[in-house]
Amino acid sequence: MDKPTPRINSALRENYVEQTVRIVGKIQSFNGETAVIVASDQGHCMVKVNGENSWSGSYVEVIGRINKDYSITEFKSTSLGDDFDLELANKVVEYGQKYKEIFE
């Protein structure tokens, strides 16, 4: 990819509709087709799971596309294990927005 994928939280989804983003969150619920994650700003996001990735552990980073209904279509996800500081991750998202030039 020539352009890096921006990191977002649930509130920023509306800025990136139809774009590819990364979003980190704690898995709240998971069935075979969809999952709900709690993003770093405590907002809930629905993810359309594509079935190729394992959703083990409590925390996950989803790379996917934001749909018009703000759900995320998963491309790839990475398990982040169980020990994760969501607040710090939110800080990263904030800095990414604030200092766009460094992150893009």
């Binding site: 500081d85 710090l88 800080k91 604030k98």
Partner: protein, 598 residues
Amino acid sequence: MTTDMELTPNAIKTLFDTRGETSGVEHPVLQVINVKAVQSGTGTRYRVILSDGAHFMQAMLSSNTNPLAENNTLERWSVIRLMGSVCNEVNGRRILIILNVEVLGKPESGKIGNPVSIENGGSPSSSTTTTNNNEQRSQPTPMSISSSNNSGGPVAQSSGRTNFQLESSLFPITGLNPYQNRWTIKARVTSKSEVKHWHNSKGEGKLFNVHLLDKSGEIKATAFKDQVDRLYHILEEDKVYYISKARVTMARKQFSTLDSEYELVLENQTEIEVCPDEVAIPKVNYNFVRIADVESCEPNTTIDMIAVVRDDNGVQEIVTKTTGRPVKKRELVVVDDSEKQIRLTIWDKLAEEFDSSGAPVVAFRGLRVGDFGGRSLSLGSSGSAKVNPDIPETTKLKHWYASQSTDASYSSFAPQSTGSIGHQANTRISLNKVKKDGLGSSEKPDYFSTRATVVFMRSENPAYPGCPECRKKMVANENGWACEKCNKQFPEPTWRYILTASIEDATAQLYVQLFDETAAIIVGQSANEVMRLKDSDVDAFTKAMSEGLFKTYNFKVRAKSDTFNDTTRIKYNIMEATPIDYVQEAKEMVIALDNLTL
């Protein structure tokens, strides 16, 4: 009533409002409502009350007009023509100084009109304008200038109280300069030094100095030789004095911590008079700095501080390098509600007598900032320490300290080798700063924290054979190992690391030494295990020594200057090595980032 006896209307008001710059009436006609003799340092003065029929105000006869009162030419109810006067402001009151007056006569009807005091905005006196009433009302106004232990009513003014002549020509301290020498100041002694003796090539002598404070500012005054004997007992701390006829000279900044351009030299002709009226003069001017802010102070600046004494290391006697004389010092550790602690040293007599029991709140004035161990404080000779002073900050600190647990740890400015006190995240520096600042190049060791990665560990002689009991190096002989110190034999030594490694961060690289405890963390194995491998399996040994590479730690380092056969090198010893808690570090980074952008 004859026309002579008509008082000039509004004359008092004009004199009062224009402060004597008589753009108004020339030579107004006024009536004397009261005359009172006042004893002062310079003799008898006469206080009079002048009225224009509508208002009255306070006045004084100047010395040359005294005779008029003395021989009763000028007396109560006399009508006078004011030929010359000047209006002075003393302590917020306007007093008319009568320089020249012509007595016109005395009407039989006594008081003309029904004057009210110009100063109180004219609140009318009671209709029974008895002389008593008037006296009582006019008495308090000048009485308030003098001290307030005044049981109401006319009180005979004792000698040495409000000295009107001096009061009317008071200078502010900031107004003193060498070009004007007719001045009097009224000031409080905020600090008095001990009598100091000196010997130099020109002879010997003694001196003491005081700091004088008034509303406008502060100035230092010194008395030399004979004046010491004359004045040392007169000038007392916290008391207020009238001082005049001292010499105003340029300040010698190296001996003074005050900000003043000039200094006073108290000489033979200097007059010092106790003043019991302290109302207008402030007490000590404190400008407290919080411990956390001391870090941003440059060394050798002078500050004030109020803090709780947490630790007292007792009185020690050391020999100073400069004079070679023994000097007593006491090292304290103080904390304040900025949640930091700092070392504070007091000297000489104060050190001997200081009592730190009960964790007192102490207000320090004139503390010199040093950079020993990061930041330290020393009470200078012109400073003062007041235990549990009567100011609001004291109660505030006492409450805060009481709410802290007794073994709460406070971050200090440098890690102390005996017992750690909190974490020193705020002293973490980069390695190039270590090199640039030459940490460790002075005589005392410097301590710092840094985060760096181990990039190299020396494999030759990483450890020495140590005695299991005393850790000293042992010598190998046929039966095993012999310790020289303990005179014992051991079959196996306890190998202890004496590891040289190279650490790097994004800015620079440093060669460091690690001792057994810290090296074991870095290498991941004990020295014994590693040395065993060295003899048996070289590959395994090499692998063991490289396992620890490229791991990042938070290091606490001591930098010390070491002279070895003419070469002086700075040696860096690792005191502590801790693996990184990423979450904690990231949180600290967030704080730093937020601070950066504010």
